[in-house]
């Protein structure tokens, strides 16, 4: 093996064409020639795909045969291939931190129009990396124990699926759900497209399995309030809201919910189509089947005065008005976020009359009306109790519209077809119109379902409905009807459809607090509020934070099959981590030399991760390696420049700047 003879660094620079991604814009041979001329550079090479096996072998060969002891790869973003090249360097016997990546794709060729400018920019970026790598030092990854427990946030179908998978694999799973019961939106649905399985029939066995699973610790009526730590060792605080019922004593007998004197509380589970009491169990299949007392509506809790009929009715004496919120601290190795979606507020589109015209209803309202356990016992009826003789279903309400949400909500075409089927099944004589822009029936069995509905006699009108109005009282034939105005775009004729009921196929939106939740867990949101995956194709359920995964509609609108598939993928991702006994963490963390530290404590208070403690014996601050995240706050805060962030030393950064400006 050749070695540097005089102790000077010997740098290898490898410039990637990335097919035409880089070479199509940047003059790579010129860049290679330039790199070869830089100080300490022993070799500079071009290759079509550096990340491929032959590409990596070039680097490894040079390390072994030419004594290359510093490597710069000029290619794509380090978030893409830094791990690839680090491994390649390491397996050739060089410490992986003696490698530096220069991003000439995302930072250059993709975003620069002029080829000459792009080539010049590439030279500067490489120059910076070469200057920096000279000062890089070998570092060893720190290995810490892995906590094998996991946390799932959100108890809809995604959270249920992920929790069951991981619990079955033998891990302790904490499942945190904001509402009193798990089940999410799927518990509200009647049938599921395209197979028309009863939603409850396929969901409740899973819910009940969660409730009974020895490895699942269910925290309902609870919210995560704080997240700290890092992959393998997250510390999470969960606020268990007081439900004013001792969950261990309550048997779910429902006597309190029948005796409660506050009767007119809008029932969220039935989309406020009927009422529940202040003491309530959201639905008969709730898990846990335990009562909750609504603190905003209970007379005892709001006014301090009530006959307390619930207490009288409760045999086991489970009701406890003195109960307080409880803060639970959990330690887990990985986290899966499955916080779901909310539906679009239909009142924002005034012209559809939602909230003004009683028989203009939302999609979730229709789910409840058509459901046998819903407020009408499964009878599809208008507000006046009569069966609709005609129904219009309006697609894309709040979707595919720059005034509201630009995106397609993906599920509305299919659930609208399902609604049509349910109407035709219950009321064969009823005319059903679907006002659609494009029918998006892309899943397995979906197109077939569309065809089936055409055969069932549903009328498809291609056009976005313009407005819904109450028909004039003056025209006997349409009196009392709703008029849907829509252009039949295939005919070029504006139609006024007289119907008894209008169903708005409302968009799926991110949860109202999606941004705060993303911030809490440390990843990003799209402008629409959906969580951003690490890579849209290859890491669709990972986030930029190691050890935190996402699944289901919190990542974007999707149907049940896709949600369940993502939940499984997220569970596999989490299991792949927590099945290890240890986790390696980046050594690019802070170090404090006790000899130089004056013990002033400034950094101790400023560290956002509580990773610095004061050691009285040394009279100096000391970094807890496992807790430090390498954020650099202590480095910039110290008046005497004592903390050093490995991998980001002053020397390295100044050299990098010098190179960039050269």
């Amino acid at each position: 093996m050749a070695e540097s003879t005089n102790g000077e660094p010997r740098i290898g620079v490898y410039v990637c064409d990335c097919g035409t991604n880089i070479a199509g814009k940047v003059d790579v041979p010129a860049v290679v020639e330039f790199a070869g001329s830089l100080p300490h550079v022993a070799v500079a090479r071009e290759y079509k795909y550096m990340c491929s096996d032959p590409g990596q072998e070039i680097i490894q060969k040079d390390i072994k045969e030419m004594g290359i002891d510093r490597v710069v790869v000029a290619a794509c973003s380090p978030t893409m291939h830094e791990p690839t090249f680090r491994k390649a360097v390491q397996s050739a016997g060089l410490n992986q931190f003696l490698f530096q990546m220069a991003n000439i794709r995302e930072h250059d060729s993709w975003v620069t129009e002029d080829p000459v400018e792009a080539t010049e920019k590439a030279k500067h970026i490489i120059d910076a990396a070469v200057h920096r790598v000279v000062f890089q030092e070998p570092l060893e990854a720190i290995e810490v124990p892995m906590n094998s427990d996991v946390l799932v946030v959100g108890g809809g179908i995604a959270g249920i699926e992920a929790a069951l998978k991981m619990a079955d694999a033998g891990h302790t799973v904490h499942l945190v759900e904001r509402d009193p019961s798990i089940g999410g939106h799927m518990a509200q649905f009647d049938k599921t497209f395209p197979t028309l399985d009863c939603s409850a029939c396929i969901l409740t066995p899973k819910m009940s399995a969660v409730g009974k699973h020895p490895n699942i610790k269910l925290h309902t009526y609870s919210e995560v309030t704080e997240v700290d730590g890092y992959v393998g060792n997250f510390k999470v605080k969960v606020n268990k809201k007081a439900r004013y019922v001792d969950i261990d004593k309550c048997t779910g007998c429902m006597l309190c919910t029948e005796q409660c004197v506050v009767a007119k509380v809008p029932n969220e589970f039935n989309e406020s189509l009927d009422n529940r009491r202040a003491a309530y169990i959201p639905f008969p299949q709730a898990v846990p089947l335990r009562a909750t007392i609504d603190p905003e509506r209970c007379l005892q809790l709001t006014r301090g005065k009530c006959k307390q009929t619930c207490v009288e009715a409760c045999g086991p004496g489970a009701i406890d008005f003195e109960q307080k919120d409880e803060l639970v601290e959990l330690e887990v190795g990985a986290i899966i976020i499955t916080t779901g979606y909310q539906t679009f507020d239909n009142e924002r589109i005034a012209r559809y009359g939602y909230g003004q015209l009683p028989d203009v209803i939302s999609s979730l309202e229709f789910e409840r009306i058509s459901n046998a356990s819903g407020p009408t016992g499964g009878e599809i009826v208008c507000k006046n109790g009569e069966k609709p003789r005609s129904v219009a279903i309006l697609h894309c309400v709040g979707s595919r519209d720059e005034n509201y949400n630009e995106y397609c909500s993906r599920v509305c075409c299919m659930y609208s077809l399902k609604f049509s089927h349910l109407i035709k099944e219950h009321l064969p004589e009823t005319e059903v119109y679907q006002c659609y822009i494009d029918m998006r029936c892309f899943g397995k069995g979906y197109e077939e379902f569309y065809k089936r509905l055409m055969n069932e006699g549903v009328v498809f009108i291609r056009g976005r409905a313009a407005e819904v109005t109450a028909a004039s009282k003056r025209q006997a034939e349409t009196e009392g009807k709703l008029l849907v105005t829509v252009e039949d775009t295939l005919l070029g004729v504006v139609r006024h459809l007289p119907v008894d009921m209008v169903i708005l196929s409302s968009a799926l939106q991110a949860q109202p607090d999606a941004k705060e939740v993303a911030q809490l867990f440390g990843f990003g949101c799209s402008s629409a509020g959906f969580y951003i995956e690490r890579h849209p194709k290859l890491e669709p359920v990972s986030t930029v934070t190691d050890g935190i995964f996402i699944a289901g509609c919190c990542q974007g609108p999707k149907d049940i099959p896709d949600t369940v598939a993502q939940a499984g993928a997220a569970a596999a991702g989490a299991l792949a981590l927590v099945d290890n006994r240890t986790v390696k963490i980046e050594p690019t963390i802070s170090y404090i030399d006790p000899e130089k530290c004056s013990g002033c404590h400034i950094c101790v208070g400023l560290c956002p991760h509580n990773a610095i403690v004061y050691d009285a014996e040394l009279d100096a601050a000391q970094v807890i390696e496992a807790a430090c995240k390498g954020c650099g706050v202590c480095v910039s805060a110290c008046g005497s420049n004592v903390p050093v962030q490995r991998g980001f030393t002053d020397e390295q950064i100044f050299a990098e700047i010098e190179g960039a400006l050269a």
Binding site: C396, E402, N403, G463, R464, A466, V486, T489, G492, V494
Partner: protein
């Protein structure tokens, strides 16, 4: 009305339309039309049009904007902006209608039975002359040239308005009426002439 007979003429008209639209604020959004028909369904006069606003954009896509100018569509637009505020693609459809009206006037492509262009002309004449629109003058010119029957139809109302002082016979001239003329001359000098 002039007629576009050759393909080259039609193509030219289409190109002018595209160029003008793309230079209008947010004009390029015309490209993202979903053909959903929210505009046509929302148009209060759509039922009077040979083709609704959606078809205007379809014609743009097909390179057949002359098809629209043959009909009465643009002259039935009241500028109520219903289509514009409802358009899910944020297309300023009312502005497209204006652009087409301008082209029709410029290239003399006005259907014989369309009366709106004459009213537009008399309105502008009045403003160019006085600096403000003299409603009475505009009305009488329109009646005299386009629709005699309006006289008796509006007679009673006109008398009532006149009696209430709401229909003055004389115009107010603004001091700066020359400035209006100068603006018009300047703009005209900047415009590309019809080939």
């Amino acid at each position: 009305m002039a007629e576009l007979t050759t393909t080259a003429q039609k193509k030219h008209l289409h190109e002018v339309f595209c160029k003008d639209v793309m230079s209008m604020p947010e004009g390029s959004k015309i490209k993202q039309c979903q053909q959903c028909g929210a505009c046509s369904g929302s148009c209060p006069t759509g039922y009077l049009m040979d083709r609704g606003p959606r078809e205007v954009i379809a014609a743009f896509r097909a390179g057949m904007i002359d098809e629209i100018l043959k009909g009465n569509t643009i002259w039935m637009c009241t500028s109520c902006y219903s289509c514009t505020v409802r358009c899910p693609a944020d297309i300023r459809i009312t502005d497209l209608m204006y652009e087409l009206k301008r082209l029709a006037i410029k290239y003399d492509l006005i259907p014989r039975d369309a009366k709106a262009p004459a009213l537009t002309k008399y309105f502008i004449d009045s403003v160019q002359k006085h600096g403000r629109n003299h409603e009475t003058e505009m009305l009488s010119k329109f009646m005299a040239t386009k629709d005699w029957s309006l006289g008796p139809k509006f007679g009673v109302m006109g008398m009532k308005l006149f009696a209430a002082g709401r229909m003055p016979l004389t115009a107010t001239d603004i001091k700066g009426k020359d400035e209006i003329r100068k603006l018009a001359e300047y703009v005209e000098s900047k415009e590309v002439a019809v080939p």
